[in-house]
Subunit: 275 residues, 2 copies
Protein backbone atom coordinates (compact mmCIF):
# COMPACT_ATOMS: atom_id res chain seq x y z
CA UNK A 1 0.00 0.00 0.00
CA UNK A 2 1.31 3.40 -1.01
CA UNK A 3 -0.62 6.62 -0.42
CA UNK A 4 1.81 8.88 -2.30
CA UNK A 5 0.18 10.74 -5.20
CA UNK A 6 0.24 9.89 -8.88
CA UNK A 7 1.75 12.69 -11.00
CA UNK A 8 0.14 13.50 -14.35
CA UNK A 9 1.17 16.10 -16.90
CA UNK A 10 0.08 17.40 -20.28
CA UNK A 11 0.80 20.39 -22.53
CA UNK A 12 -2.52 21.82 -21.40
CA UNK A 13 -5.79 20.53 -20.00
CA UNK A 14 -6.43 17.67 -22.46
CA UNK A 15 -4.65 15.29 -20.06
CA UNK A 16 -7.54 15.74 -17.66
CA UNK A 17 -9.42 13.20 -19.81
CA UNK A 18 -6.84 10.68 -18.52
CA UNK A 19 -7.26 11.95 -14.94
CA UNK A 20 -10.98 11.35 -15.27
CA UNK A 21 -10.37 7.70 -16.16
CA UNK A 22 -7.73 7.35 -13.43
CA UNK A 23 -10.14 8.68 -10.78
CA UNK A 24 -12.85 6.33 -12.04
CA UNK A 25 -10.56 3.29 -11.87
CA UNK A 26 -8.81 4.22 -8.63
CA UNK A 27 -10.98 6.62 -6.61
CA UNK A 28 -8.68 6.35 -3.58
CA UNK A 29 -5.63 7.81 -5.33
CA UNK A 30 -4.30 11.32 -4.83
CA UNK A 31 -3.36 12.99 -8.11
CA UNK A 32 -1.10 15.95 -8.81
CA UNK A 33 -1.73 17.36 -12.26
CA UNK A 34 0.38 19.83 -14.19
CA UNK A 35 -0.91 21.50 -17.37
CA UNK A 36 1.53 23.74 -19.28
CA UNK A 37 -1.17 26.28 -20.18
CA UNK A 38 1.40 29.06 -20.65
CA UNK A 39 3.00 27.20 -23.58
CA UNK A 40 0.21 25.02 -24.97
CA UNK A 41 -0.03 23.65 -27.68
CA UNK A 42 3.05 21.41 -28.09
CA UNK A 43 1.90 19.53 -31.20
CA UNK A 44 3.28 21.94 -33.80
CA UNK A 45 6.62 22.56 -32.09
CA UNK A 46 9.99 21.01 -32.88
CA UNK A 47 11.33 17.83 -31.29
CA UNK A 48 13.99 19.70 -29.32
CA UNK A 49 11.47 22.19 -27.88
CA UNK A 50 9.05 19.41 -26.92
CA UNK A 51 11.91 17.60 -25.15
CA UNK A 52 12.92 20.77 -23.30
CA UNK A 53 9.37 21.47 -22.15
CA UNK A 54 8.74 17.82 -21.20
CA UNK A 55 11.88 17.74 -19.04
CA UNK A 56 10.73 20.84 -17.16
CA UNK A 57 7.25 19.38 -16.72
CA UNK A 58 8.65 16.14 -15.32
CA UNK A 59 11.11 18.02 -13.10
CA UNK A 60 8.30 20.08 -11.65
CA UNK A 61 6.26 16.96 -10.84
CA UNK A 62 9.37 15.35 -9.36
CA UNK A 63 9.46 18.11 -6.74
CA UNK A 64 6.60 16.20 -5.06
CA UNK A 65 6.88 12.83 -3.32
CA UNK A 66 5.19 10.78 -6.05
CA UNK A 67 4.98 7.05 -6.74
CA UNK A 68 4.53 7.16 -10.55
CA UNK A 69 4.22 9.64 -13.43
CA UNK A 70 1.65 9.41 -16.22
CA UNK A 71 2.59 11.42 -19.30
CA UNK A 72 -0.97 12.22 -20.40
CA UNK A 73 0.13 13.97 -23.58
CA UNK A 74 0.29 12.22 -26.94
CA UNK A 75 2.93 14.63 -28.26
CA UNK A 76 5.32 14.13 -25.31
CA UNK A 77 4.63 10.38 -25.10
CA UNK A 78 5.62 9.90 -28.73
CA UNK A 79 8.54 12.38 -28.75
CA UNK A 80 10.23 12.32 -25.35
CA UNK A 81 8.99 9.43 -23.20
CA UNK A 82 12.29 7.55 -23.20
CA UNK A 83 14.17 10.69 -22.18
CA UNK A 84 11.74 11.54 -19.38
CA UNK A 85 11.80 7.92 -18.15
CA UNK A 86 15.61 7.67 -18.26
CA UNK A 87 16.02 10.88 -16.26
CA UNK A 88 13.38 10.08 -13.64
CA UNK A 89 13.81 7.92 -10.57
CA UNK A 90 10.08 7.07 -10.77
CA UNK A 91 8.22 4.68 -13.05
CA UNK A 92 6.95 6.67 -16.05
CA UNK A 93 3.93 5.60 -18.13
CA UNK A 94 2.97 7.17 -21.47
CA UNK A 95 -0.05 6.78 -23.72
CA UNK A 96 1.50 5.44 -26.95
CA UNK A 97 2.41 1.92 -25.85
CA UNK A 98 -0.89 1.11 -24.07
CA UNK A 99 -2.99 2.63 -26.87
CA UNK A 100 -0.97 0.73 -29.49
CA UNK A 101 -1.51 -2.53 -27.63
CA UNK A 102 -5.23 -1.93 -27.30
CA UNK A 103 -5.56 -1.09 -31.01
CA UNK A 104 -3.55 -4.16 -32.02
CA UNK A 105 -5.82 -6.35 -29.90
CA UNK A 106 -9.11 -4.76 -31.01
CA UNK A 107 -8.56 -4.62 -34.76
CA UNK A 108 -9.98 -7.53 -36.73
CA UNK A 109 -8.64 -6.53 -40.15
CA UNK A 110 -5.32 -5.03 -39.03
CA UNK A 111 -6.15 -1.75 -40.78
CA UNK A 112 -5.70 0.77 -37.95
CA UNK A 113 -6.11 4.51 -38.20
CA UNK A 114 -4.19 7.01 -36.10
CA UNK A 115 -4.95 10.68 -35.57
CA UNK A 116 -2.73 12.98 -33.55
CA UNK A 117 -0.72 16.19 -33.61
CA UNK A 118 1.88 16.82 -36.30
CA UNK A 119 4.65 16.01 -33.80
CA UNK A 120 3.04 12.70 -32.80
CA UNK A 121 2.60 11.52 -36.37
CA UNK A 122 6.13 12.66 -37.33
CA UNK A 123 7.79 10.40 -34.73
CA UNK A 124 6.36 7.16 -36.12
CA UNK A 125 6.11 5.91 -32.51
CA UNK A 126 2.67 4.30 -32.96
CA UNK A 127 3.78 2.56 -36.13
CA UNK A 128 6.79 1.04 -34.36
CA UNK A 129 4.74 -0.24 -31.42
CA UNK A 130 1.81 -1.56 -33.45
CA UNK A 131 3.89 -3.38 -36.04
CA UNK A 132 6.00 -4.94 -33.28
CA UNK A 133 2.81 -6.42 -31.83
CA UNK A 134 1.16 -7.21 -35.18
CA UNK A 135 3.67 -7.24 -38.03
CA UNK A 136 0.98 -7.53 -40.71
CA UNK A 137 -0.96 -4.51 -39.40
CA UNK A 138 -1.29 -1.45 -41.61
CA UNK A 139 -1.28 1.92 -39.84
CA UNK A 140 -2.88 4.84 -41.67
CA UNK A 141 -1.87 8.10 -39.97
CA UNK A 142 -3.37 11.55 -40.24
CA UNK A 143 -2.08 14.68 -38.48
CA UNK A 144 -4.95 16.87 -37.26
CA UNK A 145 -3.35 20.23 -36.38
CA UNK A 146 -6.65 22.09 -36.02
CA UNK A 147 -8.26 19.71 -33.51
CA UNK A 148 -6.51 21.09 -30.40
CA UNK A 149 -7.30 24.77 -31.11
CA UNK A 150 -10.87 23.84 -32.03
CA UNK A 151 -11.41 21.79 -28.85
CA UNK A 152 -9.83 24.53 -26.72
CA UNK A 153 -12.24 27.01 -28.26
CA UNK A 154 -15.19 24.82 -27.35
CA UNK A 155 -15.78 23.76 -30.96
CA UNK A 156 -16.34 20.03 -30.37
CA UNK A 157 -20.10 19.61 -30.32
CA UNK A 158 -22.14 17.77 -32.96
CA UNK A 159 -23.88 20.25 -35.23
CA UNK A 160 -20.99 22.73 -35.17
CA UNK A 161 -20.36 23.19 -38.88
CA UNK A 162 -16.67 24.11 -38.40
CA UNK A 163 -15.68 21.01 -36.44
CA UNK A 164 -17.83 18.79 -38.66
CA UNK A 165 -16.13 20.18 -41.77
CA UNK A 166 -12.65 19.70 -40.33
CA UNK A 167 -13.46 16.18 -39.07
CA UNK A 168 -14.70 15.20 -42.53
CA UNK A 169 -11.58 16.59 -44.19
CA UNK A 170 -9.13 14.86 -41.83
CA UNK A 171 -10.95 11.54 -41.46
CA UNK A 172 -12.25 10.90 -45.00
CA UNK A 173 -8.91 9.33 -46.08
CA UNK A 174 -9.06 6.93 -43.09
CA UNK A 175 -12.66 6.05 -43.86
CA UNK A 176 -11.74 5.45 -47.52
CA UNK A 177 -9.04 3.02 -46.38
CA UNK A 178 -11.70 1.18 -44.28
CA UNK A 179 -9.85 1.21 -40.99
CA UNK A 180 -11.77 -0.78 -38.38
CA UNK A 181 -10.00 0.79 -35.38
CA UNK A 182 -9.04 4.42 -34.85
CA UNK A 183 -6.56 5.59 -32.21
CA UNK A 184 -7.34 9.02 -30.73
CA UNK A 185 -3.65 9.80 -30.27
CA UNK A 186 -4.06 13.09 -28.40
CA UNK A 187 -5.70 13.52 -25.00
CA UNK A 188 -7.79 16.42 -26.30
CA UNK A 189 -9.60 14.20 -28.77
CA UNK A 190 -12.02 12.35 -26.44
CA UNK A 191 -14.07 15.55 -26.49
CA UNK A 192 -14.51 14.96 -30.23
CA UNK A 193 -15.57 11.34 -29.73
CA UNK A 194 -19.22 11.95 -30.60
CA UNK A 195 -18.45 13.86 -33.82
CA UNK A 196 -15.73 11.39 -34.84
CA UNK A 197 -17.89 8.33 -34.07
CA UNK A 198 -20.80 9.77 -36.06
CA UNK A 199 -18.53 10.34 -39.07
CA UNK A 200 -16.61 7.04 -38.94
CA UNK A 201 -19.70 4.90 -38.28
CA UNK A 202 -20.51 2.30 -35.61
CA UNK A 203 -18.25 -0.41 -37.09
CA UNK A 204 -15.09 1.57 -36.30
CA UNK A 205 -13.79 1.15 -32.74
CA UNK A 206 -12.22 4.19 -31.12
CA UNK A 207 -9.21 3.84 -28.80
CA UNK A 208 -8.84 6.66 -26.26
CA UNK A 209 -5.08 6.97 -25.68
CA UNK A 210 -5.43 8.92 -22.41
CA UNK A 211 -7.79 6.35 -20.93
CA UNK A 212 -5.43 3.54 -22.01
CA UNK A 213 -2.56 5.36 -20.29
CA UNK A 214 -4.66 5.61 -17.12
CA UNK A 215 -5.44 1.86 -17.25
CA UNK A 216 -1.77 1.03 -17.71
CA UNK A 217 -0.90 3.24 -14.74
CA UNK A 218 -3.43 1.37 -12.59
CA UNK A 219 -1.99 -1.98 -13.76
CA UNK A 220 1.56 -0.86 -12.95
CA UNK A 221 0.57 0.26 -9.46
CA UNK A 222 -1.22 -3.03 -8.87
CA UNK A 223 1.79 -5.05 -10.00
CA UNK A 224 4.05 -2.92 -7.78
CA UNK A 225 1.63 -3.45 -4.89
CA UNK A 226 1.55 0.35 -4.64
CA UNK A 227 -2.16 1.16 -4.71
CA UNK A 228 -3.44 3.61 -2.13
CA UNK A 229 -5.61 2.56 0.79
CA UNK A 230 -8.90 1.88 -1.04
CA UNK A 231 -10.99 3.21 1.85
CA UNK A 232 -9.63 6.76 1.62
CA UNK A 233 -11.05 9.42 -0.66
CA UNK A 234 -8.52 10.49 -3.33
CA UNK A 235 -7.84 14.18 -3.83
CA UNK A 236 -6.66 16.12 -6.89
CA UNK A 237 -4.36 19.12 -6.89
CA UNK A 238 -3.82 21.11 -10.07
CA UNK A 239 -0.91 23.26 -11.23
CA UNK A 240 -0.77 25.37 -14.39
CA UNK A 241 1.81 27.69 -15.97
CA UNK A 242 -0.63 30.44 -17.00
CA UNK A 243 -3.20 32.23 -14.89
CA UNK A 244 -5.60 30.07 -12.87
CA UNK A 245 -8.48 32.28 -13.98
CA UNK A 246 -11.09 30.29 -15.87
CA UNK A 247 -9.38 27.01 -14.93
CA UNK A 248 -12.35 25.49 -13.09
CA UNK A 249 -14.69 26.13 -16.01
CA UNK A 250 -12.39 24.71 -18.69
CA UNK A 251 -11.24 21.79 -16.50
CA UNK A 252 -14.85 20.78 -15.86
CA UNK A 253 -15.31 20.29 -19.63
CA UNK A 254 -12.46 17.73 -19.72
CA UNK A 255 -13.26 16.09 -16.38
CA UNK A 256 -17.04 16.11 -16.98
CA UNK A 257 -17.69 17.13 -13.40
CA UNK A 258 -17.59 20.29 -11.30
CA UNK A 259 -14.07 21.32 -10.26
CA UNK A 260 -13.69 22.83 -6.80
CA UNK A 261 -10.17 21.72 -5.94
CA UNK A 262 -7.14 23.87 -5.44
CA UNK A 263 -5.31 25.20 -8.51
CA UNK A 264 -2.04 27.09 -8.43
CA UNK A 265 0.14 28.85 -10.99
CA UNK A 266 3.86 28.03 -11.17
CA UNK A 267 6.86 29.25 -13.21
CA UNK A 268 7.59 26.16 -15.26
CA UNK A 269 10.75 27.50 -16.93
CA UNK A 270 12.42 27.51 -13.50
CA UNK A 271 12.35 23.69 -13.46
CA UNK A 272 15.28 23.11 -15.79
CA UNK A 273 17.19 19.93 -15.20
CA UNK A 274 20.41 21.69 -16.12
CA UNK A 275 21.08 19.22 -18.92
CA UNK B 1 21.39 59.59 -40.33
CA UNK B 2 21.42 56.43 -38.24
CA UNK B 3 22.33 53.04 -39.67
CA UNK B 4 21.50 51.09 -36.51
CA UNK B 5 18.82 48.42 -37.09
CA UNK B 6 15.11 48.60 -36.33
CA UNK B 7 13.99 45.88 -33.88
CA UNK B 8 10.65 44.14 -34.52
CA UNK B 9 8.98 41.41 -32.49
CA UNK B 10 5.81 39.34 -32.52
CA UNK B 11 4.47 36.23 -30.78
CA UNK B 12 5.22 34.32 -33.99
CA UNK B 13 5.66 35.08 -37.65
CA UNK B 14 2.57 37.27 -38.21
CA UNK B 15 4.68 40.36 -37.47
CA UNK B 16 6.53 39.71 -40.72
CA UNK B 17 3.55 41.37 -42.46
CA UNK B 18 4.73 44.57 -40.74
CA UNK B 19 8.35 43.89 -41.74
CA UNK B 20 7.18 43.59 -45.32
CA UNK B 21 5.65 47.08 -45.19
CA UNK B 22 8.69 48.47 -43.36
CA UNK B 23 11.05 47.13 -46.04
CA UNK B 24 8.81 48.57 -48.75
CA UNK B 25 8.76 52.03 -47.14
CA UNK B 26 12.41 52.09 -46.05
CA UNK B 27 14.44 49.67 -48.17
CA UNK B 28 17.73 50.96 -46.72
CA UNK B 29 16.95 49.94 -43.12
CA UNK B 30 18.45 46.95 -41.34
CA UNK B 31 15.85 44.98 -39.39
CA UNK B 32 16.26 42.50 -36.54
CA UNK B 33 13.14 40.39 -36.11
CA UNK B 34 12.25 38.14 -33.20
CA UNK B 35 9.32 35.68 -33.40
CA UNK B 36 8.46 33.74 -30.23
CA UNK B 37 7.66 30.57 -32.16
CA UNK B 38 8.32 28.38 -29.08
CA UNK B 39 5.39 29.97 -27.22
CA UNK B 40 3.06 31.21 -29.97
CA UNK B 41 0.11 32.01 -29.80
CA UNK B 42 -0.18 34.77 -27.17
CA UNK B 43 -3.80 35.77 -27.89
CA UNK B 44 -5.50 33.30 -25.54
CA UNK B 45 -3.08 33.73 -22.63
CA UNK B 46 -3.56 35.82 -19.49
CA UNK B 47 -2.49 39.45 -19.16
CA UNK B 48 0.32 38.60 -16.74
CA UNK B 49 1.78 35.91 -19.02
CA UNK B 50 1.62 38.21 -22.06
CA UNK B 51 3.46 40.89 -20.05
CA UNK B 52 6.12 38.39 -18.94
CA UNK B 53 6.71 37.14 -22.48
CA UNK B 54 6.68 40.68 -23.95
CA UNK B 55 9.34 41.82 -21.46
CA UNK B 56 11.59 38.93 -22.44
CA UNK B 57 11.02 39.64 -26.14
CA UNK B 58 11.92 43.32 -25.70
CA UNK B 59 14.92 42.44 -23.53
CA UNK B 60 16.22 40.10 -26.17
CA UNK B 61 15.94 42.79 -28.87
CA UNK B 62 17.58 45.29 -26.53
CA UNK B 63 20.71 43.12 -26.53
CA UNK B 64 21.35 44.61 -30.01
CA UNK B 65 22.34 48.21 -30.73
CA UNK B 66 18.96 49.33 -32.09
CA UNK B 67 17.43 52.74 -32.77
CA UNK B 68 13.72 51.87 -32.32
CA UNK B 69 11.47 48.90 -31.52
CA UNK B 70 8.26 48.07 -33.38
CA UNK B 71 5.93 45.79 -31.41
CA UNK B 72 4.37 44.06 -34.44
CA UNK B 73 1.93 42.05 -32.33
CA UNK B 74 -1.65 43.18 -31.70
CA UNK B 75 -1.86 41.22 -28.45
CA UNK B 76 1.30 42.74 -26.94
CA UNK B 77 0.54 46.22 -28.32
CA UNK B 78 -2.84 46.26 -26.61
CA UNK B 79 -1.77 44.52 -23.38
CA UNK B 80 1.78 45.55 -22.55
CA UNK B 81 2.97 48.43 -24.76
CA UNK B 82 3.16 50.96 -21.92
CA UNK B 83 5.19 48.54 -19.80
CA UNK B 84 7.61 47.68 -22.62
CA UNK B 85 8.00 51.38 -23.49
CA UNK B 86 8.55 52.43 -19.86
CA UNK B 87 11.24 49.80 -19.36
CA UNK B 88 13.07 50.45 -22.62
CA UNK B 89 15.62 53.16 -23.30
CA UNK B 90 14.55 53.12 -26.97
CA UNK B 91 11.48 54.61 -28.65
CA UNK B 92 8.81 51.88 -28.83
CA UNK B 93 6.01 51.88 -31.42
CA UNK B 94 2.97 49.58 -31.30
CA UNK B 95 0.18 48.88 -33.74
CA UNK B 96 -2.91 49.95 -31.76
CA UNK B 97 -2.46 53.71 -31.77
CA UNK B 98 -1.56 54.08 -35.48
CA UNK B 99 -4.31 51.67 -36.58
CA UNK B 100 -6.86 53.48 -34.38
CA UNK B 101 -5.89 56.80 -35.89
CA UNK B 102 -6.14 55.46 -39.42
CA UNK B 103 -9.58 53.93 -38.74
CA UNK B 104 -10.85 57.15 -37.12
CA UNK B 105 -9.72 59.11 -40.19
CA UNK B 106 -11.05 56.69 -42.78
CA UNK B 107 -14.50 55.99 -41.38
CA UNK B 108 -17.29 58.13 -42.81
CA UNK B 109 -20.11 56.86 -40.56
CA UNK B 110 -18.06 56.35 -37.37
CA UNK B 111 -19.16 52.70 -37.18
CA UNK B 112 -15.84 50.90 -36.96
CA UNK B 113 -15.33 47.15 -36.63
CA UNK B 114 -12.40 45.57 -34.82
CA UNK B 115 -11.22 41.98 -35.04
CA UNK B 116 -8.37 40.63 -32.93
CA UNK B 117 -7.33 37.98 -30.46
CA UNK B 118 -9.29 37.47 -27.22
CA UNK B 119 -6.54 39.29 -25.29
CA UNK B 120 -6.61 42.29 -27.65
CA UNK B 121 -10.38 42.69 -27.47
CA UNK B 122 -10.38 42.20 -23.66
CA UNK B 123 -8.07 45.18 -23.07
CA UNK B 124 -10.40 47.75 -24.70
CA UNK B 125 -7.27 49.53 -25.99
CA UNK B 126 -8.68 50.22 -29.46
CA UNK B 127 -11.92 51.57 -27.99
CA UNK B 128 -9.99 54.02 -25.79
CA UNK B 129 -7.84 55.32 -28.65
CA UNK B 130 -10.62 55.58 -31.22
CA UNK B 131 -13.12 57.33 -28.94
CA UNK B 132 -10.43 59.77 -27.84
CA UNK B 133 -9.95 60.73 -31.49
CA UNK B 134 -13.65 60.55 -32.44
CA UNK B 135 -15.91 60.63 -29.39
CA UNK B 136 -19.05 59.84 -31.41
CA UNK B 137 -17.50 56.74 -33.01
CA UNK B 138 -19.00 53.35 -32.29
CA UNK B 139 -16.56 50.42 -32.10
CA UNK B 140 -17.96 46.94 -32.68
CA UNK B 141 -15.43 44.34 -31.52
CA UNK B 142 -15.19 40.66 -32.29
CA UNK B 143 -12.58 38.26 -30.90
CA UNK B 144 -11.46 35.75 -33.55
CA UNK B 145 -9.58 33.04 -31.61
CA UNK B 146 -9.44 30.60 -34.53
CA UNK B 147 -7.88 32.96 -37.07
CA UNK B 148 -4.27 32.58 -35.85
CA UNK B 149 -4.28 28.75 -35.80
CA UNK B 150 -6.05 28.69 -39.17
CA UNK B 151 -3.56 31.09 -40.77
CA UNK B 152 -0.62 29.21 -39.26
CA UNK B 153 -2.00 26.01 -40.77
CA UNK B 154 -2.16 27.63 -44.19
CA UNK B 155 -5.97 27.88 -44.14
CA UNK B 156 -6.33 31.42 -45.46
CA UNK B 157 -7.08 31.01 -49.15
CA UNK B 158 -10.39 31.87 -50.82
CA UNK B 159 -12.37 28.71 -51.51
CA UNK B 160 -11.20 26.96 -48.31
CA UNK B 161 -14.53 25.98 -46.77
CA UNK B 162 -13.17 26.02 -43.20
CA UNK B 163 -11.80 29.56 -43.26
CA UNK B 164 -14.82 30.82 -45.20
CA UNK B 165 -17.17 29.30 -42.60
CA UNK B 166 -15.23 30.80 -39.69
CA UNK B 167 -14.96 34.22 -41.40
CA UNK B 168 -18.72 34.26 -41.95
CA UNK B 169 -19.41 33.33 -38.34
CA UNK B 170 -17.07 35.94 -36.84
CA UNK B 171 -17.80 38.79 -39.27
CA UNK B 172 -21.57 38.49 -39.82
CA UNK B 173 -22.32 40.53 -36.65
CA UNK B 174 -20.03 43.34 -37.89
CA UNK B 175 -21.64 43.25 -41.31
CA UNK B 176 -25.09 43.38 -39.71
CA UNK B 177 -24.05 46.52 -37.83
CA UNK B 178 -22.95 48.06 -41.18
CA UNK B 179 -19.43 49.02 -40.14
CA UNK B 180 -17.72 50.98 -42.94
CA UNK B 181 -14.18 50.38 -41.66
CA UNK B 182 -12.69 47.21 -40.21
CA UNK B 183 -9.44 47.10 -38.24
CA UNK B 184 -7.42 43.90 -38.72
CA UNK B 185 -6.10 44.04 -35.16
CA UNK B 186 -3.66 41.13 -35.39
CA UNK B 187 -0.62 40.97 -37.66
CA UNK B 188 -1.62 37.49 -38.86
CA UNK B 189 -4.82 38.79 -40.41
CA UNK B 190 -3.45 40.44 -43.58
CA UNK B 191 -3.19 36.91 -44.96
CA UNK B 192 -6.97 36.73 -44.63
CA UNK B 193 -7.49 40.04 -46.42
CA UNK B 194 -8.88 38.51 -49.59
CA UNK B 195 -11.40 36.27 -47.78
CA UNK B 196 -12.41 39.06 -45.39
CA UNK B 197 -12.76 41.65 -48.17
CA UNK B 198 -14.89 39.28 -50.24
CA UNK B 199 -17.21 38.70 -47.28
CA UNK B 200 -17.46 42.30 -46.06
CA UNK B 201 -17.89 43.80 -49.54
CA UNK B 202 -16.05 46.57 -51.40
CA UNK B 203 -17.64 49.40 -49.39
CA UNK B 204 -15.85 48.35 -46.18
CA UNK B 205 -12.30 49.68 -45.83
CA UNK B 206 -9.77 47.39 -44.15
CA UNK B 207 -7.06 48.79 -41.86
CA UNK B 208 -3.94 46.63 -41.59
CA UNK B 209 -2.61 47.26 -38.08
CA UNK B 210 0.88 45.89 -38.80
CA UNK B 211 1.28 48.10 -41.87
CA UNK B 212 0.09 51.12 -39.87
CA UNK B 213 2.67 50.31 -37.19
CA UNK B 214 5.34 50.16 -39.88
CA UNK B 215 4.25 53.56 -41.27
CA UNK B 216 4.33 55.09 -37.78
CA UNK B 217 7.82 53.68 -37.26
CA UNK B 218 8.97 55.29 -40.50
CA UNK B 219 7.41 58.63 -39.45
CA UNK B 220 9.11 58.48 -36.05
CA UNK B 221 12.50 57.79 -37.60
CA UNK B 222 12.00 60.66 -40.04
CA UNK B 223 11.06 63.07 -37.24
CA UNK B 224 14.06 61.91 -35.20
CA UNK B 225 16.26 62.37 -38.28
CA UNK B 226 17.31 58.76 -37.73
CA UNK B 227 16.74 57.16 -41.13
CA UNK B 228 19.50 54.99 -42.51
CA UNK B 229 21.63 56.05 -45.44
CA UNK B 230 19.11 55.63 -48.28
CA UNK B 231 21.78 54.44 -50.71
CA UNK B 232 22.62 51.29 -48.75
CA UNK B 233 20.75 47.99 -49.10
CA UNK B 234 18.90 47.07 -45.87
CA UNK B 235 19.37 43.59 -44.46
CA UNK B 236 17.08 41.45 -42.28
CA UNK B 237 18.17 39.08 -39.53
CA UNK B 238 15.68 36.73 -37.94
CA UNK B 239 15.59 35.09 -34.51
CA UNK B 240 13.06 32.55 -33.27
CA UNK B 241 12.56 30.61 -30.03
CA UNK B 242 11.72 27.26 -31.62
CA UNK B 243 13.65 25.34 -34.27
CA UNK B 244 14.64 27.26 -37.41
CA UNK B 245 13.50 24.30 -39.52
CA UNK B 246 10.76 25.30 -41.92
CA UNK B 247 11.27 28.99 -41.09
CA UNK B 248 12.12 30.11 -44.63
CA UNK B 249 9.04 28.46 -46.07
CA UNK B 250 6.59 29.88 -43.51
CA UNK B 251 8.26 33.29 -43.43
CA UNK B 252 7.98 33.59 -47.20
CA UNK B 253 4.18 33.30 -46.87
CA UNK B 254 4.06 36.35 -44.58
CA UNK B 255 6.75 38.34 -46.42
CA UNK B 256 5.47 37.38 -49.87
CA UNK B 257 9.00 36.90 -51.15
CA UNK B 258 11.71 34.25 -50.97
CA UNK B 259 13.59 34.22 -47.66
CA UNK B 260 17.31 33.48 -47.84
CA UNK B 261 18.55 35.47 -44.86
CA UNK B 262 20.09 34.16 -41.68
CA UNK B 263 17.77 32.75 -38.99
CA UNK B 264 18.91 31.68 -35.55
CA UNK B 265 17.25 30.01 -32.57
CA UNK B 266 17.62 31.60 -29.12
CA UNK B 267 16.50 30.72 -25.55
CA UNK B 268 13.99 33.49 -24.94
CA UNK B 269 13.29 32.60 -21.28
CA UNK B 270 16.88 33.56 -20.48
CA UNK B 271 16.07 37.21 -21.25
CA UNK B 272 14.27 38.00 -18.03
CA UNK B 273 14.50 41.60 -16.90
CA UNK B 274 14.62 40.42 -13.31
CA UNK B 275 11.52 42.42 -12.43
Amino acid sequence: MDNRPIGVFDSGLGGLTAVRELSRLLPGEDIIYFGDTGRVPYGGRSRQTIIKYARQDANFLSSFELKIILVACGTVSSTALDIVAAESSLPVVGVVRPASQRAAELSRTGRIGLIGTQATIRTGAYERHITTLRPEAELISQPCPLFVPLVENGRFRPGDVVIETVVREYLQPLKDRTVDTLVLGCTHYPLLREVIAAFMGPEVQLVDSGAEGARRTADRLRSMDALADPGRPGACRYYVSDSTEGFAQLASVFLQRDVNEQVQQIEIENFDSGI
